[in-house]
Symmetry: C2
């Protein structure tokens, strides 16, 4: 139960309460990680009881997933437009760092039971998050600028920067340093794109 401006006990309802719950969950995830994430602590932090959480989300994993989406899922990342393919891809990966994708990638690996039950894979959600469509957009722009021919870049090569970024994030559990981003783009992605010319 939270207090209003007059310090009088007051109950939140509906969307306001749900936002408070998801924000509390996110705070717990970012401060303690998944291992120490506990429903009880989320409830306490949000000033409510566990039953309130379970009325909305059937399990802990559902709550975690909802918290991730609520706090990072304002749609896919926007495609940067720096004037060059290299610039765009580097900027996209840097942007991905800023959106805490290292943490998100780790959290996603924790939800495999959830995905097993729903018949999807991590790859499905990963791609819905910040992957395919944005890289495609970046490449479309490069095509318009004449940097790349249409159909020149396979799907796998197109997604390679993001995949390697995620792998790196997962393996180190840290944001990916700029030099690594640049190495991925300059020594792997671009040679593959232009090697096909």
């Amino acid at each position: 139960m939270s207090l209003n401006a007059d310090g009088v006990a007051r109950r939140r309802r509906g969307k306001e309460l749900e936002n408070a719950l998801l924000d509390a969950a996110w705070a717990e995830l970012t401060e303690r990680g998944y291992d120490e994430f506990a429903i009880d602590r989320v409830a306490t932090r949000a000033g409510t009881s566990r039953a309130v959480l379970y009325r909305r989300w059937p399990s802990k994993q559902d709550l975690v997933r909802a918290a991730v989406e609520h706090n990072t899922g304002e749609g896919p990342a926007t495609a940067p437009d720096t004037g060059s393919l290299r610039g765009d891809v580097v900027a996209l990966l840097r942007q991905t760092n800023e959106r805490r994708q290292a943490l998100v990638t780790v959290l996603m690996t924790r939800l495999d039971g959830f995905y097993r039950a729903s018949g999807t894979t991590l790859a499905d959600l990963a791609e819905a998050g910040s992957g395919d469509s944005v890289m495609r957009e970046v490449l479309d722009r490069a095509i318009e600028r004449g940097e790349v021919e249409p159909g020149q870049v396979s799907d796998r090569i197109a997604q390679l920067p993001v995949h390697l970024f995620r792998y790196e994030a997962l393996m180190t559990l840290q944001p990916v340093p700029d030099p690594v981003i640049e190495e991925i783009v300059d020594t792997i992605f671009l040679p593959l794109v232009y090697g096909n010319r």
Copy 2:
């Protein structure tokens, strides 16, 4: 307590017991995954009590890590020798499938608390397992055969097949299909190796 050949109650000791414990742990991991892995069930399976396990490993995560190493860590994979660089790399990745690296990769992501505490990263253990040295060996052979020049392949490119393999395994939670292995080698790794010539 296990039975000897005469069906007489008998206690195992030392290495014999430890192997039985690690084998039981591994069996539980492979049959149920990490989410349903429980110390109690390992103990029951090994015909012992939980206190016995805790005398050896301070926590559940330590036991999991030891089980992984015990069952997959008979040193790094051997470097295949098929007569060509492509053949070697494809064979290595297939071999990695057979050694259940999909499961191992997933398990490793579950132990991040462990790594945080010990100051290492997943990358450290991943590389100790089946990575760097084997790919280096494969490339050394390619150099001897004259397929590649010394110093032609950067570390990052050298490890790329294994990194992409692991990413794929993690994202799908399945063994990596042959066509994907071949795509990684044929459309990404080899063009990067030979594009530098």
